[in-house]
């Protein structure tokens, strides 16, 4: 196959960026859509999106709209922002988690041109891949010069590594859950004892007070 190097490079780049039609949804102009990914630490996440704008004239979605951008904001489990960037109408964002837990990926349109949104609908194709699904095996095969069998084994190794990370994360989650349950248990226990004491003390005080009150009033 005789291809010029730049053409091949461009084709490869396009093929790599193009998300390969995933799930899509509609988003309003100022609307912010957030997605939660619960992942273990040191896990790579690659998100690809593609936007299409509703065109009133043709009553269909345009293939792509230049000038329309999306703002991507990613927060880690401690609600600290780890990525906050503007991308074009088609974009690809990557991040690696450093703490395990729920990461929040938020997307909203940054369009200031009201005219663009006259139709009111923006279609966003989104594809989020996590962990070993982010690996590009043909690229790995070419880079490390692996045979087919070696590549299969490499895929198995990546899968097992991801499973191991998930198991470590599960251990950490179970500890948190146990702490919450023990905290609840303690609070219920102390509260029951305190409540009994308060009731007894209040009862005794009430009786004493009323007795002295009635004696003072010469009714008893």
């Amino acid at each position: 196959m005789m291809l010029s190097v730049p053409a091949a490079g461009v084709l490869l780049l396009l093929a790599w960026i193009h998300p390969g039609d995933g799930l899509y949804f509609h988003i309003g102009e100022t609307e912010k859509k957030c997605f939660i990914e619960e992942i273990p630490d040191e896990t790579m996440v690659i998100g690809k999106y593609r936007t299409q704008l509703w065109d009133k004239q043709t009553s269909s979605f345009l293939p792509s709209t230049p000038g329309l951008g999306m703002h991507v904001e990613i927060k880690d489990p401690d609600t600290k922002i780890i990525l906050s960037r503007q991308y074009g109408s088609d974009g690809r964002f990557t991040f690696t988690s450093h703490t395990p837990g729920e990461h929040q990926i938020c997307l909203h349109s940054n369009s200031t041109k009201m005219a663009l949104f006259a139709g009111g609908k923006l279609r966003v194709h989104l594809d989020i891949q996590v962990g070993e699904h982010t690996n590009n095996y043909p690229e790995i095969a070419a880079k490390d010069k692996l045979t087919e069998l070696q590549l299969r084994v490499r895929q198995l190794l990546d899968q097992v590594e991801q499973i191991q990370k998930e198991q470590n994360y599960q251990r950490y989650r179970e500890e948190r859950f146990r702490m919450t349950s023990e905290s609840t248990n303690q609070r219920v226990l102390w509260w029951s004892i305190a409540q009994t004491l308060i009731l007894i003390v209040t009862g005794i005080w009430q009786m004493k007070h009323l007795k002295s009150f009635f004696e003072a009033k010469k009714l008893v």
């Binding site: 093929a15 799930l23 043909p138 069998l149 919450t180």
Partner: protein, 208 residues
Amino acid sequence: MLQLGLSCLLLLHVCVVFGTELSFELPDNDKQCFYEELEKDVKFDLDFQVIAGGNYDVDCFVTDPQNNILYNEKKKQYDSFSHTTTMKGEYKVCFSNEFSTFTHKVVYLDFRHGDEEPLLQSMTRSTALTQLESSCVAIHEILKVVADSQTWYRLREAHDRTKAEHLLERVTYWSIGETVLLFVIGIGQVMMLRSFFADKKGSVLAAT
């Protein structure tokens, strides 16, 4: 040499596995829809679970390109739905929290369609696999099942943990509230009784 290398790379390039898993927040009185363009005779699987919020239930319905309802369930906590498409077009999956007035829900969605793409394009040739290769394929399938099982347990654990944290919060607020209530009632009762006997000494003595 570089040309050959690049063209090989192009030949080997394959799209990622077709499937999306997402967790999203569904505010109260809201409906969220996801769409997917599918070909004819494609098998798709839909899994959803409610991880947080209220009674942990949500309404879900799936429609085909001609707006026929393929699946419609109300107030489900988790479910699985499989279907083979009979026509090409846009399929819609919607989640509705319109029955809830103030609790927002967090829903996990897993939408898989089609078959898994091979690692390399050259792997689609139909020559028989060697024993080693078929062992690798078997292990790969089993590991996928393990990963799915882990996802299931992770979601159940998130659900239980949310419930436990909610319970802790409620116990704390109830304890504080009840302490205040006890003191108010204890002192209030005594005050009220005192007020009954305050200026009626004359009439009580007259009655007896």
